[in-house]
């Protein structure tokens, strides 16, 4: 097991380097650079801009900057953000908790809703419930997240039941501990629903299809013939088998949620990684962009790894190591 994990992690290293090269090339090909904003301001002296060009090696070809970056990485440091003049890792850490909480909650929300709904839809196949739920699923799948986010903001603004954005209210600093927690929870309701909604629909469909596959399989007939109660068959035997694709797919959830959160965070004014990455991309703050992209990749790979491990744990038929 350990060997498997180590092998997977080691195989990721060259991939990460390849991606970082790609990011640097893309940033170099993209028009303009970080200093464009300064260049267009009338009261910033030319000497200062020249100094900054030298300092950031912006006049140099991309590989010069790449080797500076690799030099930093080897020393265990991801460079400094040009906008904030703060180490990139520090900047990312400011934002990671907010995004992780939101992602974890949306995954939880999606699974809690999708598994029971998918099972029910399969058990009562072709019933009115099945039809309504699949209608809902197709609708949810076809609405882009950012649009759902806009609708949510409008809903919040119209009804006043929820805050229109952000992670905490203006009074937050002056609240008691429990008040703060309640404040966070209140702010998290809408983003969680928005971000999780698409996943609810797709997992529900997957769950339903798999469940149906297994309901028709021989072991179900056998169990019925033996007189095992229907509920036991469905929830113990069929569900156990049908849930595998969901587990192995959950690795991707993390990655897709992260990319989805860039849009949702920007629309809903949520102070997570998405906002930071968006700003860094717009301003071409290179080291932040590279670090953010790499982090996304690491998340994806870790997610897959965890999914594989979970699968092995939930399904004893799967062996991770060949021996």
């Amino acid at each position: 097991m350990l060997a498997f994990i180590i092998r997977r992690i080691l195989s990721a290293v060259p991939l990460l380097f390849g991606i970082s090269v790609l990011v640097f090339i893309l940033m170099a090909v993209a028009p303009g650079d970080f200093l464009d904003v300064a260049r267009s301001q009338e009261d910033i002296p030319a000497e200062y801009i020249e100094r900054m060009e030298q300092e950031f090696a912006l006049g140099e070809p991309w590989h010069t900057r790449y080797f500076i970056w690799v030099g930093n990485v080897v020393q265990g440091n991801l460079g400094e953000s040009w906008i904030y003049r703060v180490p990139v890792t520090e900047l990312l850490w400011q934002r990671i908790p907010a995004t992780l909480v939101l992602s974890a909650l949306s995954i939880l929300f999606a699974l809690c809703l999708a598994i029971p709904l998918g099972v029910l839809a399969a058990i009562y196949k072709d019933s009115i419930f099945d039809r309504i739920s699949s209608m809902f699923a197709y609708a949810a799948l076809s609405i882009p997240e950012f649009f759902l986010a806009l609708l949510a903001v409008m809903f919040a603004a119209q009804t006043g039941l929820f805050p229109t954005g952000g992670l905490s209210s203006v009074e937050h600093e002056f609240m008691s501990f429990w008040g703060r927690m309640a404040d966070y929870a209140h702010h998290l309701v809408l983003p969680t629903i928005v971000l999780g909604m698409g996943s609810v629909a797709s997992y529900m469909r997957i769950m339903r299809a798999n469940f149906l596959d297994y309901v028709r399989s021989d072991f179900v007939t056998t169990a019925r013939a033996k007189g095992v109660p229907e509920g036991r068959i469905m929830f113990l035997h069929v569900l156990r088998n049908a849930i595998n694709p969901l587990v192995s797919g959950s690795g991707f959830i993390l990655a897709t949620l992260l990319s989805g959160s860039i849009l949702v965070e920007n629309v809903m004014n949520y102070p997570g990684l998405g906002q930071l990455i968006f700003e860094a991309l717009m301003r071409q703050d290179e080291f932040v962009v590279v670090a953010a992209v790499l982090m996304g990749c690491v998340m994806l790979m870790l997610g897959n790894l965890i999914a594989d491990l979970l699968l092995a744990w939930s399904d004893p038929r799967i062996r991770l190591e060949k021996n």
């Binding site: 028009p31 267009s40 009261d43 000497e47 003049r85 954005g165 002056f174 404040d183 209140h186 930071l276």
Partner: protein, 608 residues
């Protein structure tokens, strides 16, 4: 027909035991909602009674009462709290809340007023300025403020290790300004030649506390100090003399300022300013969000775009605010032709020679502006909430703006006349040709930035078609546009804008022929035309004149030349509007700058 009901009934019957959980769920939801509802109010601030400084400044405004929280919103957050690092307006604004300069610019009086320097003397040769610092002023941590802090700030500013945007501004006639400490509260500055904007520019840099930063300065890590990290985790380290101190900073969410207990301004009753308990700035995604927040009563002040005035005003009675008309905005927006002669690295001319001939002809430029229906744009795009721009300095800048410059109203007949005088002629199909027989066609580059640009450009294209000129509009990403106009010079015409500042010395980079933003032909070694040489002379001369009236006169003459030669074809200047809640007193809204520029004097009306 489906047997809907039986199926539903069966479903409900089989699952009825699950419904038992519903009351519990409802209970939890109710509890949560109650929790959400009882979110705490911000408790009033308890103020410590510190003695007032000897040279405290007494505010001229009416005395008020302590208390209240003022909430604003900004579309971007501060990137740093270190004035040597800051290069954007949002960081500078946050820094200005807790740091003071030696002088500052009063937006209503439109003149330089004392800040940390209580008075100054200018020597008879105008080359040395002696500043008397306010005595008895304390930093927010209680340490005394002295001349040593001023000297430290300027030493850091000119230090080779710490490149910053102010260095260039304090290098006058090629030499850094000199500074020396005369005694504990007196500092003398010397300049290589008389420089009249000195008092204005000297106020740009916030004076830094030596006792807090000297160690970092010695170690060479001054630029790493006072970052967003400091504001998040050790906001007490951000020591200043300004009206506020940073209470807390949450990236992407908000910054909360609290009054500086040692601030040096008081009201006529001897109460230390500011009156507000907390100043909270929320960070929102864009200006539209800020407008929505203001219109729904969630923030106290906001800039309102001309197009939103009607919509926002509709909510005024509901939330008790007023949308104030501030007159024309400070920025200028213009279109210009590339007049750069010569060839690029590949030996290709920057501008095709026959086009360069048009572009360098002032009558051609005047004709284009005459042919552009800007008046129509004001009606169609801004609904009348804008006005024509005629000068390189916006009319918002009342002190310096020259209203008597040559103007080019929409007059297609005059445009055609001017073109024909210059040898242009119309041929079949109404197309305009120059005297060498080249059809008049050019490309205009614009940034796709806002939704108004495309409307301006399509009007321009239509108007030019009426003159027989074919205009192709290309939209570029802002970065690409800047690179094209400032580095590669490969364009024919472009549209852009500048924000504009108070003193015309801020526009040197545009006015001077050697300037980086002398857009039509930047960074000339020697002025290439007579009028550009004249402008250079006027700019330099105006900066040596200490008599304000005389200096204004020079700047007016410079504007006349610009409007006569028209290197920049001025477009229009939208009107500025600012919303503010009515519960605030001592509100005085200037034509330029922040609406809450006198935040330390604002107080809450108890009636509201």
């Amino acid at each position: 027909m489906y047997a809907v009901l039986p199926v539903l009934e069966k479903f409900l019957l089989e699952n009825i035991y699950k419904l038992a959980a519903l009351p519990k769920l409802a209970l939890i939801t109710c509890l949560l909602l109650i929790l959400f509802a009882c979110k705490g109010e911000i408790p009033p601030l308890e103020r410590k009674d510190h003695p007032l400084p000897q040279d405290a400044e007494v505010s001229e405004s009416e005395p008020g009462l302590y208390g209240g929280i003022l909430v604003t919103a900004e579309s971007q957050q501060p990137r740093t709290f270190n004035p040597l690092v800051a290069e954007d307006a949002y960081s500078s604004q946050a820094i200005g809340r807790f740091l003071n300069g030696l002088t500052s610019y009063h937006p209503l009086k439109e003149e330089v007023v004392p800040e940390l320097a209580r008075s100054w003397e200018i020597s008879s040769d105008h080359k040395s300025i002696t500043m008397h610092l306010r005595r008895g002023v304390l930093w927010s941590d209680g340490e005394p403020f002295t001349a040593a802090d001023v000297i430290f700030t300027f030493k850091a500013l000119f230090d080779e290790r710490y490149p910053n945007r102010y260095q260039g501004q304090y290098i006058i006639a090629g030499k850094p300004i000199g500074f020396e400490k005369l005694d504990r509260h007196t500092v003398r500055f010397t300049t290589a030649r008389p420089y009249s904007p000195f008092l204005y520019v000297i106020g740009f840099i916030g004076i830094l506390p030596r006792h807090k930063l000297v160690d970092a300065y010695e170690q060479g890590t001054l630029l790493q100090e006072w970052s967003v990290r400091t504001a998040m985790h050790e906001s007490g380290e951000l020591v200043g003399t300004g009206p506020f101190s940073v209470h807390s900073f949450r990236p992407g969410q908000r910054i909360i300022f609290e009054p500086n207990p040692h601030y040096w301004r008081v009201d006529s009753r001897g109460q230390r300013l500011p009156y507000v308990d907390y100043l909270i700035t929320r960070f929102v995604q864009d200006r539209n969000t800020a407008t929505v927040l203001f219109a729904s009563g969630q923030i106290d002040a906001a800039d309102i775009a001309p197009g939103d005035v009607v919509g926002v005003s509709r909510n005024a009675p509901l939330h008790g605010f007023t949308v104030h008309h501030r007159g024309p905005a400070t920025g200028i927006r213009f279109l210009w032709f590339n007049q750069k002669p010569g060839v690029n690295e590949d030996g290709r001319p920057y501008v095709e020679p026959h086009k360069l001939e048009w572009f360098t002809n002032k009558y051609f430029r005047q004709a284009i502006l005459h042919g552009f229906n800007r008046e129509g744009l004001i009606q169609s795009v801004y609904f009348g909430r804008a006005e024509l721009l005629h000068s390189i300095i916006s009319p918002a800048n009342q002190r310096w703006h020259n209203p008597e410059v040559p103007k080019y109203p929409y007059d297609p007949r005059r445009a055609i006349e001017l073109l024909e005088e210059q040898g242009f002629e119309f041929r079949e199909g109404g197309q305009l040709y120059d005297k060498h027989g080249n059809p008049v066609i050019f490309d205009v580059y614009a940034s796709e930035g806002d939704d108004i640009t495309p409307q301006i450009m399509s009007t321009f294209r239509e108007n030019m078609r009426d003159l027989g000129i074919r205009v192709r509009v290309r939209y570029l990403d802002f970065g690409t546009l800047v690179a094209r106009i400032s580095r590669h010079f490969e364009y024919e015409a472009a549209m852009m804008g500048f924000t504009g500042g108070a003193d015309p010395s801020g526009g040197r980079a545009i006015y001077l022929s050697s300037g980086r933003l002398h857009l039509w032909n930047p960074e000339q070694e020697e002025p290439q035309t007579e009028w550009e040489a004249n402008v250079d002379e006027l700019v330099y001369a105006s900066e040596e004149i200490f008599d304000l009236e005389e200096r204004v006169d020079y700047v007016h003459r410079m504007q006349e030349i610009f409007s006569e030669q028209l290197p920049l074809l001025y477009l229009l200047t939208p009107h500025a509007y600012a919303g503010l809640k009515d519960k605030w007193r001592n509100v005085r809204i200037p034509a330029m700058g922040s609406v809450i520029w006198n935040i330390d004097e604002l107080y809450l009306d108890r009636e509201h």
